[in-house]
Symmetry: C2
Subunit: 243 residues, 2 copies
DNA sequence: GCAGATACGTTTAAGGTATATACAGTTCTG
DNA sequence: CAGAACTGTATATACCTTAAACGTATCTGC
Protein backbone atom coordinates (compact mmCIF):
# COMPACT_ATOMS: atom_id res chain seq x y z
CA UNK A 1 0.00 0.00 0.00
CA UNK A 2 2.99 2.21 0.37
CA UNK A 3 4.61 2.87 -2.97
CA UNK A 4 3.03 4.93 -5.66
CA UNK A 5 3.26 3.17 -8.92
CA UNK A 6 3.01 5.26 -12.05
CA UNK A 7 -0.50 4.57 -13.26
CA UNK A 8 -1.90 4.17 -16.69
CA UNK A 9 -5.17 6.02 -16.43
CA UNK A 10 -6.45 4.79 -19.74
CA UNK A 11 -5.98 1.19 -18.68
CA UNK A 12 -7.57 1.86 -15.31
CA UNK A 13 -10.63 3.43 -16.87
CA UNK A 14 -10.99 0.61 -19.37
CA UNK A 15 -10.86 -1.90 -16.55
CA UNK A 16 -13.43 -0.05 -14.49
CA UNK A 17 -15.83 0.31 -17.37
CA UNK A 18 -15.37 -3.24 -18.57
CA UNK A 19 -14.16 -1.99 -21.92
CA UNK A 20 -11.31 -4.34 -22.56
CA UNK A 21 -11.21 -6.50 -25.63
CA UNK A 22 -11.22 -10.16 -24.82
CA UNK A 23 -8.35 -12.12 -26.32
CA UNK A 24 -9.30 -15.08 -28.46
CA UNK A 25 -6.26 -17.28 -28.08
CA UNK A 26 -4.85 -18.93 -25.03
CA UNK A 27 -6.53 -20.76 -22.20
CA UNK A 28 -9.83 -19.49 -20.94
CA UNK A 29 -9.40 -17.33 -17.85
CA UNK A 30 -10.70 -19.06 -14.78
CA UNK A 31 -11.68 -15.84 -13.04
CA UNK A 32 -13.31 -12.51 -13.77
CA UNK A 33 -12.61 -9.11 -12.30
CA UNK A 34 -16.11 -9.19 -10.88
CA UNK A 35 -15.56 -12.40 -8.98
CA UNK A 36 -12.22 -11.16 -7.74
CA UNK A 37 -13.69 -7.89 -6.54
CA UNK A 38 -16.56 -9.70 -4.87
CA UNK A 39 -14.18 -11.96 -2.98
CA UNK A 40 -12.15 -8.97 -1.88
CA UNK A 41 -15.32 -7.29 -0.68
CA UNK A 42 -16.16 -10.30 1.47
CA UNK A 43 -12.75 -10.15 3.09
CA UNK A 44 -12.93 -6.40 3.63
CA UNK A 45 -16.42 -6.59 5.08
CA UNK A 46 -15.22 -9.16 7.55
CA UNK A 47 -11.76 -7.96 8.49
CA UNK A 48 -11.29 -4.49 7.06
CA UNK A 49 -9.54 -3.10 4.04
CA UNK A 50 -6.09 -3.80 5.41
CA UNK A 51 -6.94 -7.48 5.51
CA UNK A 52 -7.39 -7.52 1.76
CA UNK A 53 -4.14 -8.77 0.32
CA UNK A 54 -3.46 -10.23 -3.05
CA UNK A 55 -2.64 -13.58 -1.54
CA UNK A 56 -5.74 -13.73 0.64
CA UNK A 57 -7.96 -12.88 -2.29
CA UNK A 58 -6.15 -15.39 -4.48
CA UNK A 59 -6.54 -18.03 -1.80
CA UNK A 60 -10.32 -17.73 -2.13
CA UNK A 61 -9.93 -19.18 -5.60
CA UNK A 62 -7.12 -21.61 -4.81
CA UNK A 63 -4.86 -19.71 -7.07
CA UNK A 64 -1.48 -18.07 -6.65
CA UNK A 65 -1.32 -14.40 -5.78
CA UNK A 66 0.36 -13.60 -9.06
CA UNK A 67 -2.55 -15.00 -10.99
CA UNK A 68 -4.59 -11.97 -9.99
CA UNK A 69 -2.21 -9.72 -11.87
CA UNK A 70 -3.56 -11.22 -15.09
CA UNK A 71 -6.87 -9.55 -14.22
CA UNK A 72 -5.92 -6.47 -12.27
CA UNK A 73 -2.87 -4.24 -12.75
CA UNK A 74 -2.33 -3.82 -9.04
CA UNK A 75 -3.94 -3.41 -5.72
CA UNK A 76 -5.11 0.17 -6.23
CA UNK A 77 -7.19 -0.97 -9.16
CA UNK A 78 -8.56 -3.86 -7.16
CA UNK A 79 -9.82 -1.42 -4.56
CA UNK A 80 -11.46 0.65 -7.26
CA UNK A 81 -13.23 -2.44 -8.50
CA UNK A 82 -14.37 -3.20 -4.97
CA UNK A 83 -15.91 0.26 -4.76
CA UNK A 84 -17.69 -0.23 -8.05
CA UNK A 85 -18.89 -3.60 -6.93
CA UNK A 86 -20.49 -2.19 -3.83
CA UNK A 87 -22.00 0.83 -5.54
CA UNK A 88 -24.00 -1.16 -8.02
CA UNK A 89 -27.63 -0.06 -8.16
CA UNK A 90 -27.66 3.67 -7.89
CA UNK A 91 -30.72 4.60 -5.87
CA UNK A 92 -34.10 5.30 -7.37
CA UNK A 93 -35.35 8.31 -5.49
CA UNK A 94 -38.67 8.78 -7.18
CA UNK A 95 -40.49 7.01 -4.36
CA UNK A 96 -39.16 9.48 -1.81
CA UNK A 97 -41.52 12.21 -2.82
CA UNK A 98 -41.57 15.11 -5.21
CA UNK A 99 -39.53 17.73 -3.41
CA UNK A 100 -35.80 18.13 -3.94
CA UNK A 101 -35.35 18.15 -0.22
CA UNK A 102 -37.03 14.81 0.30
CA UNK A 103 -35.09 13.32 -2.54
CA UNK A 104 -31.63 14.46 -1.58
CA UNK A 105 -32.38 13.41 1.98
CA UNK A 106 -33.27 9.97 0.77
CA UNK A 107 -30.10 9.90 -1.29
CA UNK A 108 -28.08 10.72 1.79
CA UNK A 109 -29.78 8.00 3.80
CA UNK A 110 -29.12 5.39 1.16
CA UNK A 111 -25.56 6.47 0.75
CA UNK A 112 -25.06 6.30 4.49
CA UNK A 113 -26.55 2.82 4.52
CA UNK A 114 -24.11 1.56 1.92
CA UNK A 115 -21.19 3.07 3.77
CA UNK A 116 -22.32 1.53 7.01
CA UNK A 117 -22.74 -1.85 5.37
CA UNK A 118 -19.17 -1.72 4.06
CA UNK A 119 -17.10 0.15 6.60
CA UNK A 120 -13.98 0.01 4.42
CA UNK A 121 -15.74 2.02 1.71
CA UNK A 122 -14.88 5.29 3.39
CA UNK A 123 -11.20 4.54 3.45
CA UNK A 124 -11.33 3.18 -0.07
CA UNK A 125 -12.88 6.30 -1.53
CA UNK A 126 -10.66 8.54 0.55
CA UNK A 127 -7.61 7.44 -1.36
CA UNK A 128 -6.05 10.04 -3.52
CA UNK A 129 -6.28 9.90 -7.29
CA UNK A 130 -9.16 7.53 -7.39
CA UNK A 131 -10.91 6.83 -10.64
CA UNK A 132 -14.67 6.74 -10.87
CA UNK A 133 -16.46 3.89 -12.51
CA UNK A 134 -19.95 3.81 -13.95
CA UNK A 135 -21.62 2.82 -10.71
CA UNK A 136 -20.04 5.62 -8.77
CA UNK A 137 -21.13 7.99 -11.52
CA UNK A 138 -24.61 6.55 -11.21
CA UNK A 139 -24.80 7.68 -7.62
CA UNK A 140 -23.53 11.08 -8.62
CA UNK A 141 -26.11 11.28 -11.36
CA UNK A 142 -28.97 10.46 -9.05
CA UNK A 143 -27.89 13.06 -6.51
CA UNK A 144 -27.69 15.73 -9.17
CA UNK A 145 -31.10 14.68 -10.42
CA UNK A 146 -32.49 15.22 -6.94
CA UNK A 147 -31.00 18.70 -6.83
CA UNK A 148 -32.07 19.75 -10.30
CA UNK A 149 -35.52 20.97 -9.25
CA UNK A 150 -33.96 23.50 -6.91
CA UNK A 151 -33.33 25.72 -9.87
CA UNK A 152 -29.83 26.38 -8.63
CA UNK A 153 -27.10 26.85 -11.20
CA UNK A 154 -25.12 23.83 -12.26
CA UNK A 155 -22.12 25.03 -10.28
CA UNK A 156 -24.23 25.58 -7.18
CA UNK A 157 -25.84 22.17 -7.51
CA UNK A 158 -22.41 20.67 -7.63
CA UNK A 159 -21.34 22.58 -4.54
CA UNK A 160 -24.39 21.39 -2.66
CA UNK A 161 -23.76 17.84 -3.76
CA UNK A 162 -20.24 18.01 -2.38
CA UNK A 163 -21.59 19.24 0.92
CA UNK A 164 -24.17 16.50 1.24
CA UNK A 165 -21.81 13.74 0.21
CA UNK A 166 -19.25 15.07 2.65
CA UNK A 167 -21.78 15.16 5.42
CA UNK A 168 -22.63 11.54 4.87
CA UNK A 169 -18.98 10.58 4.97
CA UNK A 170 -18.30 12.50 8.15
CA UNK A 171 -21.24 11.17 10.07
CA UNK A 172 -20.83 7.59 8.99
CA UNK A 173 -17.24 7.75 10.03
CA UNK A 174 -18.26 9.00 13.44
CA UNK A 175 -20.63 6.09 13.64
CA UNK A 176 -18.06 3.55 12.70
CA UNK A 177 -15.46 4.97 15.02
CA UNK A 178 -17.76 4.50 17.90
CA UNK A 179 -16.97 1.38 19.81
CA UNK A 180 -18.81 0.80 23.05
CA UNK A 181 -16.01 -0.72 25.07
CA UNK A 182 -13.21 1.39 23.71
CA UNK A 183 -15.28 4.51 24.10
CA UNK A 184 -16.15 3.73 27.69
CA UNK A 185 -12.55 3.13 28.64
CA UNK A 186 -11.39 6.24 26.84
CA UNK A 187 -13.99 8.34 28.61
CA UNK A 188 -12.84 7.06 31.94
CA UNK A 189 -9.21 7.85 31.23
CA UNK A 190 -10.00 11.22 29.73
CA UNK A 191 -12.32 12.28 32.51
CA UNK A 192 -9.52 11.66 34.93
CA UNK A 193 -7.06 13.63 32.83
CA UNK A 194 -9.47 16.48 32.29
CA UNK A 195 -10.02 16.82 35.98
CA UNK A 196 -6.32 17.35 36.41
CA UNK A 197 -6.13 19.78 33.49
CA UNK A 198 -9.46 21.52 33.81
CA UNK A 199 -7.81 24.91 33.52
CA UNK A 200 -6.39 24.12 30.11
CA UNK A 201 -9.76 23.05 28.71
CA UNK A 202 -12.32 25.20 30.45
CA UNK A 203 -15.03 25.04 27.82
CA UNK A 204 -14.58 21.38 27.19
CA UNK A 205 -14.78 20.63 30.89
CA UNK A 206 -17.99 22.60 31.13
CA UNK A 207 -19.40 20.96 28.01
CA UNK A 208 -18.75 17.48 29.30
CA UNK A 209 -20.34 18.36 32.62
CA UNK A 210 -23.35 19.60 30.69
CA UNK A 211 -23.62 16.27 28.89
CA UNK A 212 -22.32 17.32 25.48
CA UNK A 213 -20.73 13.92 24.99
CA UNK A 214 -23.46 11.85 26.52
CA UNK A 215 -25.31 9.48 24.20
CA UNK A 216 -27.53 11.59 21.98
CA UNK A 217 -30.95 10.34 20.89
CA UNK A 218 -30.92 12.61 17.84
CA UNK A 219 -29.69 11.01 14.65
CA UNK A 220 -26.69 13.11 13.64
CA UNK A 221 -27.35 12.56 9.96
CA UNK A 222 -30.90 13.85 10.19
CA UNK A 223 -29.75 16.79 12.27
CA UNK A 224 -26.93 17.65 9.92
CA UNK A 225 -29.05 17.31 6.81
CA UNK A 226 -31.78 19.46 8.30
CA UNK A 227 -29.35 22.28 9.11
CA UNK A 228 -27.54 22.05 5.83
CA UNK A 229 -30.65 21.91 3.69
CA UNK A 230 -32.21 24.74 5.65
CA UNK A 231 -29.19 26.71 4.60
CA UNK A 232 -29.64 25.71 0.99
CA UNK A 233 -33.32 26.52 1.09
CA UNK A 234 -32.48 29.96 2.37
CA UNK A 235 -30.32 30.37 -0.67
CA UNK A 236 -33.35 29.67 -2.83
CA UNK A 237 -35.83 31.80 -0.92
CA UNK A 238 -33.89 34.32 1.13
CA UNK A 239 -37.01 35.70 2.76
CA UNK A 240 -38.80 32.65 4.08
CA UNK A 241 -38.07 30.92 7.29
CA UNK A 242 -37.36 27.26 6.63
CA UNK A 243 -39.87 24.74 7.80
CA UNK B 1 -0.21 -0.94 8.85
CA UNK B 2 -2.16 -4.10 8.40
CA UNK B 3 -2.37 -6.01 11.64
CA UNK B 4 -4.27 -4.81 14.62
CA UNK B 5 -2.25 -5.17 17.72
CA UNK B 6 -4.05 -5.31 21.01
CA UNK B 7 -3.49 -1.87 22.48
CA UNK B 8 -2.88 -0.71 25.97
CA UNK B 9 -5.00 2.42 26.13
CA UNK B 10 -3.58 3.52 29.44
CA UNK B 11 -0.04 3.42 28.05
CA UNK B 12 -1.11 5.20 24.89
CA UNK B 13 -2.75 8.00 26.82
CA UNK B 14 0.24 8.39 29.12
CA UNK B 15 2.50 8.67 26.11
CA UNK B 16 0.30 11.24 24.42
CA UNK B 17 0.03 13.35 27.53
CA UNK B 18 3.70 13.06 28.36
CA UNK B 19 2.83 11.53 31.68
CA UNK B 20 5.39 8.81 31.88
CA UNK B 21 7.77 8.62 34.77
CA UNK B 22 11.33 9.00 33.63
CA UNK B 23 13.58 6.17 34.72
CA UNK B 24 16.59 7.21 36.75
CA UNK B 25 18.95 4.36 35.98
CA UNK B 26 20.42 3.25 32.73
CA UNK B 27 21.95 5.27 29.92
CA UNK B 28 20.36 8.57 29.00
CA UNK B 29 18.01 8.25 26.07
CA UNK B 30 19.42 9.92 22.99
CA UNK B 31 16.00 10.83 21.59
CA UNK B 32 12.65 12.12 22.70
CA UNK B 33 9.18 11.29 21.47
CA UNK B 34 8.90 14.90 20.35
CA UNK B 35 11.96 14.74 18.17
CA UNK B 36 10.86 11.42 16.74
CA UNK B 37 7.39 12.73 15.94
CA UNK B 38 8.85 15.85 14.38
CA UNK B 39 11.11 13.82 12.12
CA UNK B 40 8.17 11.67 11.09
CA UNK B 41 6.18 14.79 10.29
CA UNK B 42 8.92 16.02 8.00
CA UNK B 43 8.87 12.74 6.11
CA UNK B 44 5.08 12.69 5.89
CA UNK B 45 4.90 16.28 4.73
CA UNK B 46 7.34 15.50 1.97
CA UNK B 47 6.29 12.04 0.83
CA UNK B 48 3.02 11.18 2.49
CA UNK B 49 2.01 9.09 5.45
CA UNK B 50 2.84 5.85 3.73
CA UNK B 51 6.43 6.97 3.40
CA UNK B 52 6.75 7.12 7.18
CA UNK B 53 8.37 3.88 8.21
CA UNK B 54 10.17 3.04 11.38
CA UNK B 55 13.41 2.62 9.55
CA UNK B 56 13.17 5.89 7.66
CA UNK B 57 12.41 7.79 10.83
CA UNK B 58 15.21 6.01 12.65
CA UNK B 59 17.60 6.82 9.83
CA UNK B 60 17.05 10.53 10.50
CA UNK B 61 18.83 9.97 13.80
CA UNK B 62 21.35 7.43 12.56
CA UNK B 63 19.82 4.85 14.76
CA UNK B 64 18.39 1.40 14.15
CA UNK B 65 14.69 1.03 13.56
CA UNK B 66 14.28 -0.97 16.73
CA UNK B 67 15.64 1.87 18.82
CA UNK B 68 12.39 3.71 18.26
CA UNK B 69 10.50 1.03 20.09
CA UNK B 70 12.15 2.23 23.29
CA UNK B 71 10.20 5.45 22.83
CA UNK B 72 7.03 4.43 21.06
CA UNK B 73 5.05 1.20 21.47
CA UNK B 74 4.36 0.93 17.75
CA UNK B 75 3.56 2.76 14.62
CA UNK B 76 -0.01 3.61 15.52
CA UNK B 77 1.21 5.52 18.52
CA UNK B 78 3.81 7.27 16.42
CA UNK B 79 1.08 8.54 14.15
CA UNK B 80 -0.86 9.80 17.14
CA UNK B 81 2.19 11.69 18.28
CA UNK B 82 2.55 13.18 14.82
CA UNK B 83 -0.99 14.46 15.01
CA UNK B 84 -0.35 16.01 18.38
CA UNK B 85 2.83 17.55 17.11
CA UNK B 86 1.04 19.26 14.28
CA UNK B 87 -1.92 20.41 16.35
CA UNK B 88 0.16 22.36 18.82
CA UNK B 89 -1.16 25.86 19.37
CA UNK B 90 -4.90 25.63 19.39
CA UNK B 91 -6.20 28.76 17.72
CA UNK B 92 -6.98 31.94 19.58
CA UNK B 93 -10.23 33.12 18.06
CA UNK B 94 -10.74 36.27 20.07
CA UNK B 95 -9.34 38.40 17.27
CA UNK B 96 -11.93 37.11 14.84
CA UNK B 97 -14.71 39.20 16.28
CA UNK B 98 -17.39 38.83 18.88
CA UNK B 99 -20.01 36.78 17.13
CA UNK B 100 -20.14 32.98 17.38
CA UNK B 101 -20.45 32.87 13.65
CA UNK B 102 -17.29 34.79 12.98
CA UNK B 103 -15.42 32.73 15.51
CA UNK B 104 -16.42 29.30 14.38
CA UNK B 105 -15.77 30.41 10.81
CA UNK B 106 -12.28 31.44 11.81
CA UNK B 107 -11.82 28.12 13.57
CA UNK B 108 -12.79 26.32 10.40
CA UNK B 109 -10.37 28.36 8.32
CA UNK B 110 -7.50 27.68 10.66
CA UNK B 111 -8.32 24.03 10.87
CA UNK B 112 -8.44 23.85 7.09
CA UNK B 113 -5.07 25.59 6.91
CA UNK B 114 -3.43 23.02 9.18
CA UNK B 115 -4.92 20.17 7.21
CA UNK B 116 -3.73 21.67 3.97
CA UNK B 117 -0.25 22.20 5.36
CA UNK B 118 -0.05 18.54 6.38
CA UNK B 119 -1.97 16.55 3.83
CA UNK B 120 -1.42 13.30 5.72
CA UNK B 121 -3.31 14.67 8.71
CA UNK B 122 -6.64 13.70 7.23
CA UNK B 123 -5.66 10.10 6.80
CA UNK B 124 -4.00 10.06 10.20
CA UNK B 125 -7.09 11.24 12.02
CA UNK B 126 -9.35 9.04 9.96
CA UNK B 127 -7.91 5.93 11.52
CA UNK B 128 -10.22 4.03 13.76
CA UNK B 129 -9.69 3.95 17.49
CA UNK B 130 -7.54 6.96 17.62
CA UNK B 131 -6.68 8.51 20.95
CA UNK B 132 -6.83 12.25 21.48
CA UNK B 133 -3.96 14.11 23.04
CA UNK B 134 -3.99 17.46 24.78
CA UNK B 135 -3.41 19.47 21.62
CA UNK B 136 -6.26 17.83 19.79
CA UNK B 137 -8.46 18.53 22.80
CA UNK B 138 -7.27 22.12 22.68
CA UNK B 139 -8.72 22.50 19.22
CA UNK B 140 -11.94 20.92 20.37
CA UNK B 141 -12.06 23.25 23.34
CA UNK B 142 -11.64 26.34 21.22
CA UNK B 143 -14.36 25.28 18.81
CA UNK B 144 -16.78 24.68 21.65
CA UNK B 145 -15.83 28.05 23.11
CA UNK B 146 -16.76 29.66 19.82
CA UNK B 147 -20.14 27.95 19.88
CA UNK B 148 -20.95 28.65 23.50
CA UNK B 149 -22.48 32.09 22.86
CA UNK B 150 -25.08 30.54 20.60
CA UNK B 151 -26.99 29.51 23.66
CA UNK B 152 -27.54 26.09 22.17
CA UNK B 153 -27.61 23.12 24.52
CA UNK B 154 -24.37 21.30 25.15
CA UNK B 155 -25.57 18.39 23.04
CA UNK B 156 -26.52 20.71 20.19
CA UNK B 157 -23.21 22.50 20.36
CA UNK B 158 -21.48 19.18 20.06
CA UNK B 159 -23.59 18.25 17.07
CA UNK B 160 -22.76 21.52 15.37
CA UNK B 161 -19.09 21.06 16.11
CA UNK B 162 -19.16 17.66 14.46
CA UNK B 163 -20.77 19.20 11.39
CA UNK B 164 -18.23 21.97 11.07
CA UNK B 165 -15.24 19.72 11.68
CA UNK B 166 -16.62 17.29 9.14
CA UNK B 167 -17.12 20.03 6.61
CA UNK B 168 -13.51 21.08 6.92
CA UNK B 169 -12.32 17.53 6.44
CA UNK B 170 -14.47 16.98 3.38
CA UNK B 171 -13.51 20.14 1.63
CA UNK B 172 -9.83 19.90 2.38
CA UNK B 173 -9.86 16.40 1.03
CA UNK B 174 -11.47 17.63 -2.15
CA UNK B 175 -8.75 20.20 -2.41
CA UNK B 176 -5.98 17.75 -1.88
CA UNK B 177 -7.44 15.27 -4.30
CA UNK B 178 -7.36 17.83 -7.00
CA UNK B 179 -4.38 17.45 -9.22
CA UNK B 180 -4.23 19.59 -12.32
CA UNK B 181 -2.71 17.11 -14.71
CA UNK B 182 -4.49 14.03 -13.43
CA UNK B 183 -7.76 15.89 -13.38
CA UNK B 184 -7.39 17.09 -16.92
CA UNK B 185 -6.62 13.64 -18.22
CA UNK B 186 -9.46 12.11 -16.27
CA UNK B 187 -11.90 14.68 -17.65
CA UNK B 188 -10.85 13.91 -21.15
CA UNK B 189 -11.31 10.21 -20.70
CA UNK B 190 -14.59 10.59 -18.86
CA UNK B 191 -16.05 13.04 -21.34
CA UNK B 192 -15.45 10.52 -24.03
CA UNK B 193 -17.07 7.76 -22.00
CA UNK B 194 -20.00 9.90 -21.02
CA UNK B 195 -20.69 10.72 -24.61
CA UNK B 196 -21.00 7.05 -25.33
CA UNK B 197 -23.16 6.44 -22.23
CA UNK B 198 -25.13 9.67 -22.12
CA UNK B 199 -28.36 7.75 -21.72
CA UNK B 200 -27.17 6.12 -18.53
CA UNK B 201 -26.23 9.42 -16.92
CA UNK B 202 -28.68 11.97 -18.24
CA UNK B 203 -28.47 14.48 -15.41
CA UNK B 204 -24.74 14.24 -15.12
CA UNK B 205 -24.35 14.79 -18.84
CA UNK B 206 -26.54 17.86 -18.64
CA UNK B 207 -24.72 19.13 -15.56
CA UNK B 208 -21.33 18.84 -17.18
CA UNK B 209 -22.59 20.62 -20.26
CA UNK B 210 -23.85 23.37 -17.97
CA UNK B 211 -20.40 23.71 -16.44
CA UNK B 212 -21.07 22.09 -13.09
CA UNK B 213 -17.56 20.71 -13.02
CA UNK B 214 -15.79 23.69 -14.47
CA UNK B 215 -13.35 25.51 -12.20
CA UNK B 216 -15.39 27.38 -9.62
CA UNK B 217 -14.26 30.76 -8.33
CA UNK B 218 -16.27 30.34 -5.13
CA UNK B 219 -14.30 28.94 -2.20
CA UNK B 220 -16.13 25.74 -1.30
CA UNK B 221 -15.29 26.12 2.38
CA UNK B 222 -16.82 29.57 2.56
CA UNK B 223 -19.85 28.40 0.63
CA UNK B 224 -20.31 25.35 2.80
CA UNK B 225 -19.85 27.21 6.05
CA UNK B 226 -22.27 29.91 4.98
CA UNK B 227 -24.98 27.37 4.20
CA UNK B 228 -24.37 25.30 7.28
CA UNK B 229 -24.23 28.24 9.66
CA UNK B 230 -27.33 29.74 8.07
CA UNK B 231 -28.99 26.51 9.02
CA UNK B 232 -27.71 26.74 12.56
CA UNK B 233 -28.77 30.36 12.85
CA UNK B 234 -32.23 29.38 11.79
CA UNK B 235 -32.24 26.95 14.65
CA UNK B 236 -31.55 29.83 17.01
CA UNK B 237 -33.99 32.31 15.51
CA UNK B 238 -36.57 30.38 13.51
CA UNK B 239 -38.30 33.51 12.31
CA UNK B 240 -35.51 35.62 10.89
CA UNK B 241 -34.00 35.28 7.51
CA UNK B 242 -30.27 34.80 7.82
CA UNK B 243 -28.03 37.60 6.72
C1' DG C 1 33.91 2.22 45.55
C1' DC C 2 31.52 -1.45 43.78
C1' DA C 3 27.90 -5.00 42.79
C1' DG C 4 23.49 -5.39 40.85
C1' DA C 5 19.59 -3.64 38.73
C1' DT C 6 17.90 -1.23 34.96
C1' DA C 7 17.48 0.90 30.64
C1' DC C 8 19.45 1.89 25.86
C1' DG C 9 20.50 0.56 21.32
C1' DT C 10 21.94 -3.23 18.12
C1' DT C 11 21.60 -7.50 15.75
C1' DT C 12 19.01 -11.08 14.11
C1' DA C 13 15.09 -13.03 12.44
C1' DA C 14 10.18 -14.08 11.58
C1' DG C 15 6.25 -13.29 9.06
C1' DG C 16 3.81 -9.98 6.56
C1' DT C 17 3.15 -7.05 2.23
C1' DA C 18 3.30 -5.92 -3.30
C1' DT C 19 4.96 -7.16 -7.48
C1' DA C 20 8.81 -8.08 -11.32
C1' DT C 21 10.49 -11.86 -14.06
C1' DA C 22 11.02 -16.22 -16.11
C1' DC C 23 8.76 -20.23 -17.26
C1' DA C 24 5.49 -24.26 -18.24
C1' DG C 25 1.37 -25.45 -20.09
C1' DT C 26 -2.96 -24.59 -22.85
C1' DT C 27 -5.57 -23.00 -26.65
C1' DC C 28 -6.61 -20.70 -30.75
C1' DT C 29 -5.05 -19.04 -35.62
C1' DG C 30 -3.07 -19.22 -39.97
C1' DC D 1 -0.04 -28.64 -37.16
C1' DA D 2 3.40 -25.15 -36.02
C1' DG D 3 3.62 -20.92 -33.81
C1' DA D 4 1.67 -17.16 -31.49
C1' DA D 5 -0.83 -15.74 -27.60
C1' DC D 6 -2.49 -16.32 -23.38
C1' DT D 7 -3.01 -18.34 -18.34
C1' DG D 8 -1.28 -19.51 -14.06
C1' DT D 9 2.96 -20.87 -11.22
C1' DA D 10 7.33 -20.53 -9.04
C1' DT D 11 10.88 -17.78 -7.67
C1' DA D 12 12.94 -13.70 -6.07
C1' DT D 13 13.33 -8.85 -4.57
C1' DA D 14 12.49 -5.25 -1.77
C1' DC D 15 9.93 -3.46 1.38
C1' DC D 16 7.27 -3.37 5.93
C1' DT D 17 6.47 -4.08 11.45
C1' DT D 18 8.02 -5.97 15.40
C1' DA D 19 9.59 -9.98 18.68
C1' DA D 20 13.68 -11.75 21.13
C1' DA D 21 18.26 -11.98 22.69
C1' DC D 22 22.28 -9.55 23.73
C1' DG D 23 26.12 -6.28 24.94
C1' DT D 24 26.87 -2.11 27.16
C1' DA D 25 26.24 2.16 29.67
C1' DT D 26 24.49 4.23 33.78
C1' DC D 27 22.51 4.84 38.25
C1' DT D 28 21.34 3.03 43.23
C1' DG D 29 22.15 1.01 47.55
C1' DC D 30 25.38 -0.78 50.27
Amino acid sequence: MAKEKPRDLRAGVALLWGEQDQPTRGPKPSLTTQRIAAAAVVIADADGLDAVSMSKVAAEFDVSAMALYRYVPGKAELVELMVESVLADAPDLSAAGDGWRQRITEWARRSAAVHRAHPWLLAATAMRRQLMGPNQLGWLDSALAALEPTGLSAAEQHRVFVLVAGLVRTLVQQDLDFDEQHSREWSRLTDELLERHADRFPTLTRAIAAGAFAPDPVDPLEFGLARMLDGVQLLLHPDDAAG
